[in-house]
Amino acid sequence: MSDALRFEWVRIRTLRSTYWLIASALLLNLVGAVAVALTTPPLNHEIVGAALTGGGADLPVPFAAVFLATMGILATGHEYRYGTIQPTLTTVPRRSALFAAKLTVLAATALAVAVVSLLADIVAVLAVWGEVPALTGPPFDEALPGYLVLVVLWTVLGAALAQLFRSVPAALTVLLVVPLIVEQLIFSLSYVPALNWLAPVVKFLPFAAGQRLIHVGGTDYSEFFDRWVSGGVLTVFVAIVLAVAWTLFTRRDA
């Protein structure tokens, strides 16, 4: 496993795309934080949450996490796009160890980037507002760790989807189309009286449920589980995709 981790660490840091994806995630969140801080005073938890977590829970996707999920997609998808899976597997032939190393390095990188992003956003809003509400108390004592979990889950999901499809475009499509179109459509249709049977389904939509990890208050337009159970819904979805991708990776021809 240590050889696989060293391999993956060198792999991820010798790609230019790693740097611009991380830089894009940090910059997007920072610009968002500054924009929110400049246009609105810290009136309530929602505004502070939106400034610190790149838009808050009401957005269909956590935008910074999309960049890190793309890093995950490239980590597995490019192995097939460029045929590097052959030198990879002739160097580290134990596939489960390799996949575990990929996920570990990606998750650790995503976690570090999310922490840096949060700290940068806090410093930015502090500079503009001159103060920041207590982040160690409710709801931020749970929402900020929730943000870190959300970013890691998206990153792992990106890698799992690209491994499952062995295709960068297919993984990107699923990662964007499902939360931005499919789930939003189901969410909207659940308000149609004839389709109100969809309402109980909404809390099981994985991406929408995942956004509850960074929920800090405001109007709820649908019924959801609480923060950590909702996070569990996304986690179960990621785990299912991961399990299928992992199984196929060990069984398929390279």
Binding site: D3, G83, P87
Partner: protein, 304 residues
């Protein structure tokens, strides 16, 4: 020593590799030959655990996937351009070295050895096929392995590159390494390989020394020029019943099924003047075409 036993691979109803068993000995270059679609690449992928199938390949008694640092024992390159186009050649090798516990300094040594030191920090997206092949060889040699498995390493190399590859592989074999190389360049293979594994439609055709393969699948011929070609033909047929004699356009005879010395003796005994006696040895290409004619997967139409 590579020992492949009953390698088997099936895609649906089609058998790609049919219970192939062979050995690749150390100290010699072994050519892996077969027509397009014969199953060479699939066999190599099975050997390295890249594809799942039946059978077993042992490298000095161990399966590839059971070796902790396989790159230190088996250098394998199955595709010339298996690298990320924006990761520099040196970083590509550094990544592989990191996964194999190989010192980073070794990457510079192998890049120097294959002649890519000047482009070590360049992104390989613009590499020619020949440069990509050299990077592939650097990758294979990274762990200074005792075994090399190379799929078409001469593709894209210029004549100097091919000459260099041949000398390199032969000198590596002389050091006692086990080398299995597939190639379509039969003239090159005849200069490079000491032994061959020849397959067709996934099945074994021949495994042994090159000369034995040529002898088994071709007939040596003798070119004979004589002012009394007709009389000589009759004399040869009287001497050996099933001798095969073709009269060429210029009146010369092409004789097969009779050694050159015997032809000279028959001519001498019959007082027939002979102006030329030339033994013509069949080539590896002749043997390959004969051996694999029935197992060609893709056959082009003739020229009208």
């Amino acid at each position: 020593m590579i020992t492949a036993t009953a390698l088997h691979k099936r895609y649906g109803d089609r058998v790609a590799v049919d219970r192939l068993s062979f050995e690749v000995r150390p100290g010699v270059v072994t050519g892996f030959l077969g027509p397009n679609g014969a199953g060479k690449s699939t066999t190599m992928r099975l050997m390295l655990g890249l594809d799942h199938g039946g059978g077993e390949t042992l490298f000095d008694g161990r399966r590839f996937t059971a070796i902790r640092h396989p790159a230190r024992e088996i250098g394998a390159v199955l595709e010339a351009k298996a690298f990320h186009p924006t990761r520099s050649a040196r970083n590509h090798l550094l990544m592989l070295a990191a996964g194999s516990g190989i010192a980073a300094s070794r990457t510079d040594e192998v890049l120097e050895f294959v002649g890519l030191a000047d482009v070590a920090h360049k992104k390989p997206r613009s590499f020619s096929l020949g440069m990509a092949q050299r990077l592939g060889l650097a990758q294979a040699l990274l762990g200074d392995p005792a075994t090399l498995i190379l799929d078409e390493p001469a593709n894209g190399l210029d004549p100097h590159g091919i000459h260099w590859l041949r000398d390199t592989l032969k000198s590596l074999a002389d050091e006692g390494r086990t080398i299995l190389v597939s190639s379509h360049l039969l003239s090159e293979m005849s200069l490079m390989a000491d032994e061959v594994v020849v397959i067709g439609r996934g099945s074994m055709i021949y495994n042994g020394i090159v000369d034995g393969f040529v002898r088994e699948f071709t007939h040596a011929t003798v070119l004979v020029r004589s002012p009394e070609a007709d009389r000589l033909s009759h004399a040869l047929r009287r001497a050996v019943h099933d001798v095969d004699i073709h009269v060429l356009d210029d009146g010369a005879l092409r004789v097969s099924g009779m050694p050159m010395g015997d032809i000279g003796e028959v001519a001498y005994r019959n007082n027939i003047m002979v102006r030329e006696l030339t033994a013509r040895t069949a080539s590896l290409e002749d043997a390959f075409i004969t051996a694999t004619a029935a197992s060609e997967e893709y056959v082009a139409g003739g020229v009208e």
